[in-house]
């Protein structure tokens, strides 16, 4: 069934490209261990430019997109193989992850599939919308953390009707002076303001007024579709 294309329809072979995992607002920067998929990469900044995922030896017809991340993020997706680094958003506006991605149970279908050409890169700019890095004050034996400088504690709440008033950081991991702790998710606890939060357990390290903290966002993005035969790749 050519559906008006005049060419034999290539149903393709099932395939998924994964971009990541990589981490924004990480405790320390790290080079990607697999640069082609940018797996293992980390930055202590809130954004990352030109994250790549290389398409293999066959054109790839992308039909679904999915993602998994600690917090919401925004993304500007581009096809580096289009010649001009074509962006999928004419205004170059980054798209919120909740608007663009589903999960394996409820995938986001692209209304029209997009063919990435073989041996080219799918690239994207990412911005973390949930995490932060900075400096805080902590006291040994106390669960209280006080913001000193850098990114403020996130008081935003999860979106949508099911979670009204639930702090985005409730139950999240926070790295303080190199050690991971959990932010309390108990009612009336957790992030109590942009400058104060409460841990689920007492801080066990040395008392410090200059302890580095980071709440990281680890992101994975999957492109699901089919690999096409080279001979039917349109041009």
């Amino acid at each position: 069934m050519c559906e008006g294309t005049g060419a034999a329809w290539d149903p393709g072979r099932e395939f998924t490209y994964e971009m990541g995992p990589f981490t924004l607002n990480a405790p320390a920067a790290a080079a990607a261990s697999n640069p082609q998929n940018f797996a293992g990469g980390a930055t202590n900044l809130a954004s990352l430019q030109n994250v790549s995922c290389q398409v293999g030896n066959y054109p790839f017809r992308c039909m679904f997109v999915m993602s998994r991340s600690t917090f919401p993020f925004s993304i500007l997706l581009t096809d580096a193989g289009s010649g001009s680094g074509r962006s999928f958003v004419p205004q170059q506006t980054q798209v919120h992850s909740e608007n663009m991605f589903g999960t394996a149970r409820q995938l986001t279908p692209w209304p029209t599939p997009y063919v990435f050409q073989k041996n080219q890169n799918i690239t994207a700019n990412f911005t973390d919308l949930g995490g932060a890095t900075g400096v805080c004050s902590v006291t040994n034996g106390s669960p209280d953390v006080t913001w000193i400088s850098g990114g403020l504690f996130n008081v935003n709440t999860a979106f949508g009707p099911p979670f009204p008033g639930v702090s985005l950081w409730a139950g999240a991991s926070i790295n303080i002076a190199g050690v991971n702790y959990v932010i309390s998710s108990a009612a009336g606890s957790g992030v109590t303001s942009q400058t104060t939060l409460i841990l689920a357990a007492n801080y066990a390290g040395a008392t410090s007024a200059t302890a580095a903290f980071s709440v990281s966002n680890t992101i994975r993005v999957a492109f699901k579709g089919v690999e096409l035969a080279n001979s039917t790749s349109s041009s």
């Binding site: 069934m1 559906e3 008006g4 294309t5 992308c62 039909m63 679904f64 925004s74 289009s82 074509r86 999928f88 958003v89 004419p90 205004q91 506006t93 980054q94 798209v95 919120h96 909740e98 608007n99 663009m100 991605f101 589903g102 999960t103 149970r105 409820q106 995938l107 986001t108 279908p109 692209w110 209304p111 029209t112 599939p113 997009y114 063919v115 050409q117 919308l129 400088s149 850098g150 990114g151 403020l152 996130n154 008081v155 935003n156 709440t157 999860a158 979106f159 949508g160 009707p161 979670f163 009204p164 008033g165 702090s167 985005l168 109590t192 303001s193 942009q194 400058t195 349109s234 041009s235």
Partner: protein
């Protein structure tokens, strides 16, 4: 003649429904209720495009003050068929990177539902048409990435037209919101896609 898979719900030819495997995870066989009348998803001959109405995620200065109304006009660069509409929003605290005065320190920002009212204003040849008789809530007008709102018929937005998203914040807190039109653009000459003809 319509294309696409046809599943029978009753076992008789009189009760056949055309459903989409692409939307099965969202709506199972009931997805025939959400499909565009004249096309299945996906289609080809178009290039995937997203038109993004951003109110504070990509540009924090565009966040909407309590009870305020905000506009985001976008001009169409090429003919565009909008298929689905998604949205997200959240209440936000001020994003300050230096020590904030005590009066500005936010406690946890509450979310509300519905969060905003929305309407779309489509301007074509100087004539403006709105997509609903009054602004409607986010839950009546948009979906999300997992369950996008599928327009019953794809909406054609011709090149040069302007589509304006108008949002009214219903909360007594600053709101960040973003609405996205997903669809396809008639530009297969510039980008090597599977052409329609």
């Amino acid at each position: 003649m319509e294309q696409g898979l046809i599943f029978s719900r009753s076992g008789t030819r009189q009760r056949l429904y055309r459903v989409s495997p692409l939307l099965f995870s969202q709506y199972q066989t009931e997805n025939f209720r959400f499909l565009p009348r004249v096309r299945d998803l996906p289609e080809h001959g178009l290039v995937t495009r997203f038109y993004v109405f951003d109110f504070g995620y990509s540009n924090p200065s565009s966040q909407i003050a309590p009870y305020n109304t905000a506009y985001c006009p976008l001009q169409l660069g090429r003919d565009f068929l909008a298929h689905t509409v998604t949205a997200t929003y959240e209440s936000v605290g001020p994003q300050v990177l230096t020590a904030p005065p005590a009066a500005l320190i936010s406690t946890t920002a509450p979310n509300v539902s519905p969060g905003f009212l929305v309407n779309f204003l489509h301007t074509h040849n100087g004539v403006q048409r709105q997509w609903s008789n009054k602004s409607i809530t986010d839950q009546e007008s948009t979906g999300d990435g997992m369950t996008p709102l599928i327009l019953r018929d794809p909406a054609l937005l011709p090149q040069g037209d302007t589509i304006t998203c108008m949002i009214q914040n219903l909360a007594n807190v600053t709101l960040a919101a973003q609405i996205v039109f997903m669809g396809g653009e008639f530009d297969t000459d510039s980008y090597p896609q599977e052409k329609a003809s």
